[in-house]
């Protein structure tokens, strides 16, 4: 993958009245990568995408696409195309006419249009659908026509605004894989907006997690999942077990802490400074926690005494809901390997939460960024 920037965003801000929907965002999207803007609704991801597409004018900041400043360029002057959330297929035109719509503005000779339309439809496995009307298509087919219409113009960057939101779960999974394969084989930069962390993880090379108009973390997909940088990202990626502890001391490589319940543990320092007496917060993903009947502290495994409150059977796995000594809520995810495993603990039983120190993710709190 080249490291040339397809899209350079510098200090981009969009205010609607007093609210900053996008707040001084700076980021680079590399040429040829599958880039996702991930976040809850209202985090500014769609507004950011719409500014790249030219549908919203930024209040401040700049956008460059392949080096060219397009901050104030109209949508029809940008080398990008968009797949809209509800596809925005023209209902009065056939599938073929939809796909051909923009070709005359991109210097495609009229005689070449049918061939180019057929090629674009072949790309999305809709060969022969030219004369259908959009209202005769299923949701999945419409989504593919929208994709073909945008790809037919051979954009340098393709923008996708939650294009799978209207599809059912099963179809969605299939399309995710197809979309990723298509992106790889075409080598076009994809900028994908979604609120679904699993979807973003499945497809993206890199993910920018957004919250309240700002980018909380921009990283490789796996890093965002494994090493969330902030509490927000951790929670959004499904890591919900937070431990608030006191720092006792430490050395160059690790910090020693006191766990809830009094046991001591040493966590990797990850290059950050912590002083004795400071508070520290870390998170462990539910599947990285282990629920045991015995305290493993003596064997060097961090253990926290807990009380089992409830059990949620999920078929493939079981989620244990437990409470720590200070009333903290934790959830532990366990694969169901044996049929009787779900019944290991009764409600009210005492148990120990164990984890490996390398699975503890030290968080920066909002103050120290």
């Amino acid at each position: 993958m080249s490291t040339v920037s397809a899209v350079e965003i510098r200090g981009l801000t969009k205010r609607f009245g007093d609210v900053a929907a996008v707040d001084a965002v700076t980021l680079d999207i590399r040429a040829g990568e599958f880039f996702s803007l991930l976040g809850p609704s209202g985090c500014g991801k769609t507004t950011l995408l719409r500014m790249i597409g030219g549908f919203e004018l930024p209040t401040a900041g700049s956008i460059r696409i392949h080096g060219e400043d397009v901050t104030r360029t109209a949508p029809y002057g940008r080398p990008v195309n968009m797949v809209f959330q509800h596809y925005a297929l023209f209902p009065h035109l056939s599938v073929g006419e939809n796909v051909a719509f923009g070709m005359r503005y991109h210097g495609v000779p009229r005689g070449d249009e049918p061939r180019r339309v057929a090629a674009a439809l072949a790309l999305v496995q809709l060969t022969g659908y030219e004369s259908r009307r959009p209202d005769q298509l299923s949701g999945g087919q419409r989504q593919r026509v929208a994709l073909a219409r945008a790809l037919a113009l051979e954009p340098e960057v393709l923008l996708l605004d939650e294009p799978l939101g209207a599809l059912d779960q099963k179809l969605r999974k299939e399309v995710q894989v197809q979309l990723k394969q298509l992106q790889r084989s075409l080598g076009i930069t994809f900028v994908f907006v979604t609120h679904d962390q699993e979807e973003a993880l499945t497809m993206s090379d890199r993910i920018a997690v957004m919250n309240r108009g700002r980018v909380e973390q921009l990283d490789e997909a796996a890093r965002v999942f494994e090493r969330p940088a902030t509490e927000f990202v951790a929670t959004f990626m499904g890591a919900s077990n937070f431990f608030d502890v006191f720092v006792r001391g430490g050395d160059a490589a690790s910090v020693s802490i006191e766990l809830p319940g009094g046991a001591a543990a040493r966590l990797p320092r990850e290059g950050r400074e912590w002083n004795a007496g400071e508070r520290l917060r870390f998170v462990v993903r539910p599947e990285k926690l282990d629920l045991r009947t015995h305290d493993l502290s003596t064997r060097g495994v961090p253990s926290v005494p807990v009380t089992v409150e409830d059990r949620v059977y999920q078929g493939v796995g079981t989620v244990w809901l437990v409470r720590g000594p200070g009333g903290e809520a934790f959830s532990v995810y366990e694969q169901n390997e044996r049929p009787d495993e779900g019944a290991r603990f009764a409600a009210g039983a005492r148990a120990f939460l164990c984890f490996r120190t390398r699975d503890a993710i030290l968080l920066s709190t909002a103050g120290d960024r």
């Binding site: 030219g54 029809y76 809209f84 959330q85 925005a88 209902p91 923009g102 959009p134």
Partner: protein
Amino acid sequence: MRGRGGLLGAYAALVYLFLYAPIAILVVFSFNRARQTAVWEGGTTEWYRSLAKNDLILAALKNSLIVGGVATLIATVLGTLVALALGRHTFRGEGFTRQLLYLPVIIPEIVLGAALVTFFGALAFRLSLLTVVIAHVVFCVSYVAIVVRARLAGFDRSLEEAALDLGARPAQTFFRVTLPLLAPGIVAGALLSFTISIDDYVITSFVAGVGSTTLPLQIYSMLKVGVTPEVNAVSTLILAVTVVLIAVAQRLQRRPAEREETS
């Protein structure tokens, strides 16, 4: 339950009878052979044939068609533009303009008629077919704008964004996407406007000059002499045209909603 249903049915039947019996009688008697009496003396299409030879009625019909056609054309263009301005842009006095739009629809026709004739008088405008056209444009604009605005309210803006995204400029987007999608609403507005123009009596009676008698005015003047089968015949024809146009207009207005339901 059944008893109440029966009672309700009977009541409904009476209401419809009250509403439509006079119209039915008018239609039936337009085919009555007798010239004067309200007694059925056998069917004939004689009155329809004599209509075609009645120069007064033909002249009035011509005036009505000219007024209806020209007023509808102007009102459709203006009304569509008003609807687009109100639906698409925010500007100073927008709320006021929107209220103003409904005025010709709600104020009593007699007031509008009196106002127009005063207005033309003040401008020393001679009453003619032109003043009738202007008066009809005044109220037709509102109907067109209201119908087109309704269509515009259900319009998915992302369709226009998609066109811009695909490289079309704003004017090209308007003619290739916006206008074709608004067309059913515009045509419905035009049909409604034509129907209302053809039927109008009160306002027209104020602003019509010599030689600009329209069909409703002509019918009324014929009635002063007495109800003739010819009046019945011409009324039946107007009724038929009106019903067809309204039915078409309603169909055009309904279609987008139905299509969205299935999509």
